[in-house]
């Protein structure tokens, strides 16, 4: 009897563990949100974090965006040219970037570059008793350490996604117009005519805001919730990137279905 029930027992137990963690993560987020007024009062804390989370990610985003745009230009050209539609290359490149690749790829890169760093930093601060020490100095570490990092991530992500899309379009333009000889006027005018501000750009920005919140939330929570040992921090860092990637891809599907689904 016991051996029959065992798998269910294990399943139930791990479900409970996951649910408890989800509960902790939500309470934690509420706590972080209470730190928002404090950040407005001390913009320097936010600026310092925006530098390490956002500005230091710019180079990575620039290079990745450029190459993704160039690949889109090549692939798009090969497909479109079969239908004699290579003038539409600009639309294809820009729509792919603004709607999907900009927010999604930026979020994935952001999780690898900034999210993992946040998790490791916070986890190590916990392991070296810096968070505990702060509590004993009557300073709330969630408000002083976590909140600036979270809001820096939230603000940085849409900006980085915008940079990614911009550079991507330039990369696509360089390959399409510069190397493959697509008509420059057609590339531009079709792109300008077909890319809609509300439909494409606003939705892309909403996506990148949501992804920014998800990635940074996972990163700071995994760090804060990590087991304060070297092994614990290393696991938390891995989980931070893996969970963030899953969450971004999953939410991308949900958001795309909501935004672009024709009812």
């Amino acid at each position: 009897m016991n051996s029959v029930l065992k798998p269910f027992q294990i399943l139930g137990e791990s479900a409970l563990v996951s649910l408890r963690k989800l509960g902790r993560a939500n309470l934690f987020m509420l706590h972080v949100a209470t730190g928002f007024p404090g950040i407005l009062a001390r913009p320097r804390l936010l600026a310092a974090q925006m530098y390490s989370v956002g500005v230091l990610s710019v180079l990575l985003i620039l290079i990745s965006g450029l190459f993704v745009g160039m690949v889109l230009g090549l692939q798009g050209y090969y497909v479109l040219t079969d239908f004699g539609a290579e003038e539409s290359l600009g639309v294809m490149v820009a729509a792919s970037l603004v709607r999907e690749l900009g927010p999604v790829v930026t979020a994935l890169l952001f999780a690898g570059r900034a999210g993992s760093a946040l998790t490791a930093e916070i986890g190590l601060m916990k392991a070296t008793e810096q968070l505990s020490g702060m509590e004993m100095m009557a300073v709330d570490p969630v408000k002083r350490i976590i909140a600036p990092r979270f809001f820096a991530g939230l603000v940085s992500m849409p900006l980085l996604a915008a940079v990614f899309s911009l550079v991507g379009v330039l990369g696509g333009y360089f390959v399409g117009v510069g190397l493959l000889g697509v008509d420059e006027g057609a590339f531009r005018s079709q792109m300008q005519a077909k890319i809609d501000f509300d439909e494409d750009i606003v939705n892309g920005v909403i996506k990148s805001l949501v992804f920014g919140a998800i990635v940074t939330w996972i990163a700071v929570f995994e760090g804060y919730d990590s087991v304060p040992t070297s092994e614990g921090v290393s696991r938390a860092t891995t989980r931070s990137v893996v969970y963030a990637a899953f969450a971004v891809l999953g939410w991308d599907f949900v958001l795309t279905a909501l935004m672009f689904g024709k009812d």
């Binding site: 070296t128 008793e129 505990s132 020490g133 702060m134 004993m136 100095m137 009557a138 300073v139 002083r144």
Partner: protein, 274 residues
């Protein structure tokens, strides 16, 4: 053998405190008083929850039952704001120092002032330099924590702990891993600061001689109970075999050298049975 602290106005009084973690009993209904203005040592073997006791006093952990009263208020009945107000009057020195690694020595000591006060920069500077002078590290103000030795990091943390002029300081294993010179410096500092600033100090340690040399009163904790207490002399003269083993550092006694295991010979031969 129950001594009572001579000073009846205890700053911290712990009554019937029980605490367990992961199903393991750490404290089993212990009573403990920390007298005002004195240095009280809490000693015991590693893993007896001495650090946990400090976290219970500081309100970072909640007991299963019992109470911790600091200066008359029950720490675990306070709301977060009141608890933080109380913590501003309690300094704590962590074993690692717990300095903020991204701030310089100067900024670490200034940190509580910047967070809790709106003092002008000139006043912050004076206060920070005074506290750094007290621990002998005024010249190290521009160093980063990574550039400090373990002993120096603890002294900086000590300067930070006293920068808000607290009523008490809790020291978590202040002597662990120190060379004899920095050990001597820390012993001297704890003693001088306590008497010079009129503090109450709680020193958690298993460095028997250093701690006993400055403590006014000693509690020995083992297996979740207070197993001995008194002035260092009284404890040293105790006839309890466990206390003698602990105070004199004997390898075998009531605490066995061997971790509990089955019979040695049958264990060695046990492989054949598998």
């Amino acid at each position: 053998m129950t001594f009572q602290p001579s000073d009846t106005t205890a700053l911290v009084s712990i009554r019937g405190l029980s605490f367990s973690r992961n199903g393991r009993m750490i404290f089993d209904k212990i009573d403990l008083d920390i007298p005002r203005g004195k240095i009280t040592a809490i000693m015991g073997p590693s893993g007896t929850g001495k650090t946990t006791l400090l976290k219970l006093i500081g309100g970072q952990l909640r007991p299963d039952s019992g109470s911790v009263r600091v200066d008359g208020t029950d720490v675990h009945r306070l709301g977060l704001d009141d608890l933080y107000a109380l913590r501003k009057r309690m300094g704590m020195l962590f074993q690692s120092g717990a300095l903020l690694t991204d701030l310089s020595v100067y900024e670490n000591v200034a940190f509580p002032l910047r967070e809790h006060t709106r003092l002008p920069e000139s006043m912050i500077r004076s206060l920070v330099l005074m506290k750094l002078e007290a621990v002998g590290l005024r010249g190290a103000r521009d160093l980063m924590p990574a550039q400090l030795s373990g002993g120096m990091a603890r002294r900086v943390a000590l300067a930070r702990a006293i920068v808000l002029d607290p009523m008490m300081i809790m020291y978590d294993e202040p002597f662990t891993g120190q060379d004899p010179i920095s050990m001597g410096v820390l012993v001297q500092l704890i003693h001088d600061l306590n008497h010079g600033l009129g503090l109450t100090s709680v020193v958690v340690s298993h460095d028997v001689h250093e701690t006993a040399s400055i403590a006014d009163y000693v509690y020995l904790i083992s297996g979740g109970k207070v197993v001995g207490q008194g002035t260092p002399d009284e404890v040293a003269r105790s006839d309890s075999p466990w206390i003698r083993q602990f105070m004199e550092g004997l390898p075998d006694g009531p605490v066995h050298f061997h971790y509990p295991s089955k019979d040695y010979a049958s264990d060695l031969l046990g492989f054949a049975a598998h």
